[in-house]
């Protein structure tokens, strides 16, 4: 009895503190915690403050209250235009991308030696992502006498010299790019497909279900959680998309491809004149609210169509 008391009273040295499991945990998570504080919490706090200021980054911010927000909602046509373009891009591009990823995943869901190769090939576009090289490639592909028109005009002679960068088609140049980068969604679908129990297909076979019925009644319902995950992730990504618009079209023509984030960037870092950092910060906070609402709506719809077993 006395022995245990002695043990409890043993001095808590620095070394023993270091050896505690929770200390190791804190130390290992420290890089993240520091990064999170420095690159997320502090900048977000600052940006919230700046959103109520007139701030040009060369001079000290001055408090203007709700002025920025009022101006955005009452007297900024570009805001509504950019928001419209972004919503269009997100609401059209995301489902297309997810559907495309699903189709390719279904095709690649076979046991064959070539499949591994194809998986890698189809994943490649997602890795090179929104780089400058891809932007240049894309501009050349879609030029009026570019590769795409050369191929299309063989089938549809009317397509020769078609101007993809005009108002209307231009946003589709960006949508096609995002659909092309379906790799990560595809990989998630592939692993989900692998987890569907074989027995279910065998049972469906016994019941006489044709492949389409098997897909419709077995595969799709069991994939809905994955579809949901991909949809949420890609929707958020689409709302925050930046590089495609900035590098390929820079919003032209007539802001018809101006993503919200690019508009925000142009306000914060204009190519001429003073920065409007306060205004840009207000735009950012409005975007945060919009993304939150859209995500909440998606989650709300979950119970209606996602099969949770």
């Amino acid at each position: 009895m006395a022995k245990t008391v002695v043990l409890r009273k043993k001095k808590r040295t620095f070394k023993s503190w270091l050896n505690e499991e929770s200390t190791a945990g804190y130390i290992f998570s420290l890089p993240f915690i520091i990064g999170f504080l420095m690159f997320m919490v502090v900048p977000m706090g600052l940006s919230l403050y700046y959103s109520f200021c007139k701030y040009d980054i060369q001079n000290a911010p001055t408090w203007v209250g709700l002025d920025n927000y009022i101006k955005i909602f009452t007297n900024d046509k570009t805001f509504s235009k950019a928001l419209g373009v972004t919503c269009y891009f997100a609401l059209v591009g995301t489902p297309l991308k997810v559907i495309f990823a699903l189709i390719v995943a279904l095709i690649l869901n076979h046991e064959s030696r070539a499949v591994g190769f194809y998986r890698a090939v189809y994943y490649l576009p997602s890795i090179i992502g929104g780089s400058v090289a891809v932007a240049i490639l894309w501009r050349r592909l879609f030029e009026s006498n570019g590769t795409l028109n050369a191929i299309l005009s063989k089938v549809f002679p009317g397509m020769a010299g078609f101007n993809w960068f005009g108002e209307g088609p231009a946003i589709w140049v960006l949508i096609i790019l995002t659909v092309w980068q379906f790799g990560s969604s595809m990989l998630i679908f592939l692993s989900a497909l692998k987890q569907i129990p074989r027995e279910l297909y065998e049972a469906a076979d016994v019941d006489g279900a044709v492949p389409f019925q098997q897909f419709w009644k077995v595969t799709l319902p069991l994939l809905t959680p994955t579809i949901f995950f991909n949809l949420v992730q890609q929707t958020i990504n689409s709302f925050l998309a930046f590089t495609q618009s900035k590098l390929i079209t820079n919003g032209a023509p007539r802001n018809s491809t101006l993503f919200y984030t690019v508009y925000q960037y142009n306000k914060a870092f204009p190519n001429q004149g003073k920065s409007q950092m306060g205004y840009a910060s207000a735009l950012a906070w409005i975007m945060l609210v919009i993304v939150t609402v859209v995500t909440a709506l998606l989650f709300k719809s979950r119970s209606k169509w996602v099969y949770d077993g």
Partner: protein, 444 residues
């Protein structure tokens, strides 16, 4: 053999420069006493400018090995955004290129060093620079910028093409009617039109306002001409787009006019994105010609088209060199600035790419040497001599809101006016322009 000759000439030049380089013209401060320091130097530019500016900095280092350079070059569109962020961190390069358009904004932000004391002490020698050129770098009582070279608005055009079609472009004083007539003819024969590439710049509007008899487009309060008068500017563009030869917003959406090497005057795979002329500045002929040579195009130069060209045209300090308040070695930076402005060898290396040197003695001394290096220099000098007698005094520096108005108003309205089927009338565009700019001016 040709290569050998070129190499020999380059070596001979380098040798003659090194031999002659015992004394660089650096003013009264001796850079050798500065210790081991690095000077930051930032500019916007093009490939030719990047090469010559790097060479001029290297030459300084050769003479003063204790001074090295951190060079930072951007294209115009990225330059200001980047410098703005540096400014926020008090991390601007010691020497930055500045522009007549935005100097007031930068002085107001307290980023530029007043050079008056250095001129008074003799550290910065401006005796060779004409007073009217020195004055362009003044804001209030302070001198914040030194002219890096004189230039003028210049319409650079594809002379190979106009010669082929037997079209004579006037040497200067191109009227808007002549411009339209030439454009129509070229478009009819070759399908090459005009890419009006100044969408986000006040320059063509200023030119238009001056052509009407005003000195400037705008002042601190707002737009000077009336809405009806500005409607005329948009009406011209709309009429030209309707004729087909001025390319519309959709056609030029994928065209890059800022990077000279990609400008449709010298680059493009089909005629419907090629232009026969570019609204540029006289010093840019060097970089444009360098890009055009690959396509076998020779460039010509004339003034921008206007109803009244002599009222509209002007001589302009092309760029400025300014010393920023973030510098830790102001004396050394001033010595380097003095070298850039007054040293003959430095200006041979710089090849007058930024415009004809402001120091008239230097300009005369380098003429032969630079002409040998770059034949376009003579063309630019001849053109400037014509402009001198066919122009009006320059407008005052732009009000500080100008950059914002360029991005938010001028770009939007020129996109609208250049639409194939415009959704607003010229009158509405003129009214919108005046109202929107005045609103920005009031709120700045």
């Amino acid at each position: 053999m040709k290569k050998f000759v070129a190499l020999f000439l380059a070596l001979a030049l380098a040798l003659s420069l090194t031999l002659a380089s015992a004394e660089l013209n650096v003013g009264t401060y001796d850079p050798a006493t500065a210790g081991d320091v690095q000077l930051g130097f930032g500019w916007w530019g093009n490939q030719v400018r990047d090469e010559v500016t790097k060479a001029v900095a290297d030459f300084f280092t050769e003479n003063y090995p204790n001074v090295t350079f951190n060079l930072n070059t951007q294209v115009w569109d990225n330059y200001w955004a980047l410098m703005n962020t540096y400014s926020a961190n008090n991390d601007l390069p010691d020497i930055m290129q500045q522009d007549y358009a935005f100097i007031e904004q930068w002085v107001a932000a307290g980023d530029l060093l007043d050079l008056t004391p250095y001129v008074e002490s003799g550290a910065l020698d401006l005796s060779g620079v004409p007073q009217n050129i020195i004055d362009t770098g003044k804001v209030g009582d302070g001198l914040y910028a030194i002219c890096a070279g004189v230039n003028a608005p210049a319409l650079l055009y594809n002379k190979t093409l106009t010669d082929e079609l037997g079209i004579t472009v006037p040497e200067i004083n191109l009227t808007w009617d002549e411009f339209e007539e030439i454009s129509r003819k070229i478009y009819a024969e070759k399908g090459i039109g005009v890419v009006f590439g100044q969408g986000n710049s006040e320059n063509p509007l200023t030119y238009y306002a001056r052509s009407l008899g005003y000195t400037a487009l705008w002042n601190a309060e707002g737009v000077v001409p009336t809405a009806e008068e500005m409607a005329g500017y948009y009406a011209d563009l709309m009429a030209d787009v309707a004729e087909g030869w001025m390319f519309n917003t959709d056609q030029i959406a994928n065209v890059n006019v800022v990077d000279l090497a990609q400008n449709p005057l010298v680059y493009g795979t089909t005629n419907d994105v090629r232009t026969w002329c570019a609204f540029a500045f006289s010093n840019q002929i060097a970089a444009f010609q360098k890009a055009a040579t690959a396509d076998g195009i020779e460039l010509g130069i004339t003034s921008w088209a206007a109803q009244n060209p002599t009222a509209a045209n002007y001589m302009k300090p092309g760029q400025f060199f300014s010393i920023t308040t973030d510098t830790k070695n102001p004396d050394l930076a001033v010595a380097f600035l003095n070298y850039l402005i007054n040293d003959v060898q430095a200006n041979v290396i710089l090849r007058a790419e930024r415009g004809v040197p402001a120091n008239s003695e230097v300009a005369a001394a380098i003429a032969d040497e630079v002409n040998k290096l770059d034949p376009t220099y003579g063309i630019a000098v001849d053109y400037l001599a014509l402009v001198e007698n066919n122009s009006s005094p320059i407008f005052p520096p732009l009000p500080s809101y100008a950059g914002t108005a360029n991005n938010d108003v001028i770009q939007r309205l020129s996109d609208e006016a250049l639409l194939k089927n415009p959704q607003i009338t010229a009158e509405e565009a003129g009214q919108d322009f005046v109202d929107s700019v005045n609103e920005i001016a009031a709120d700045y």
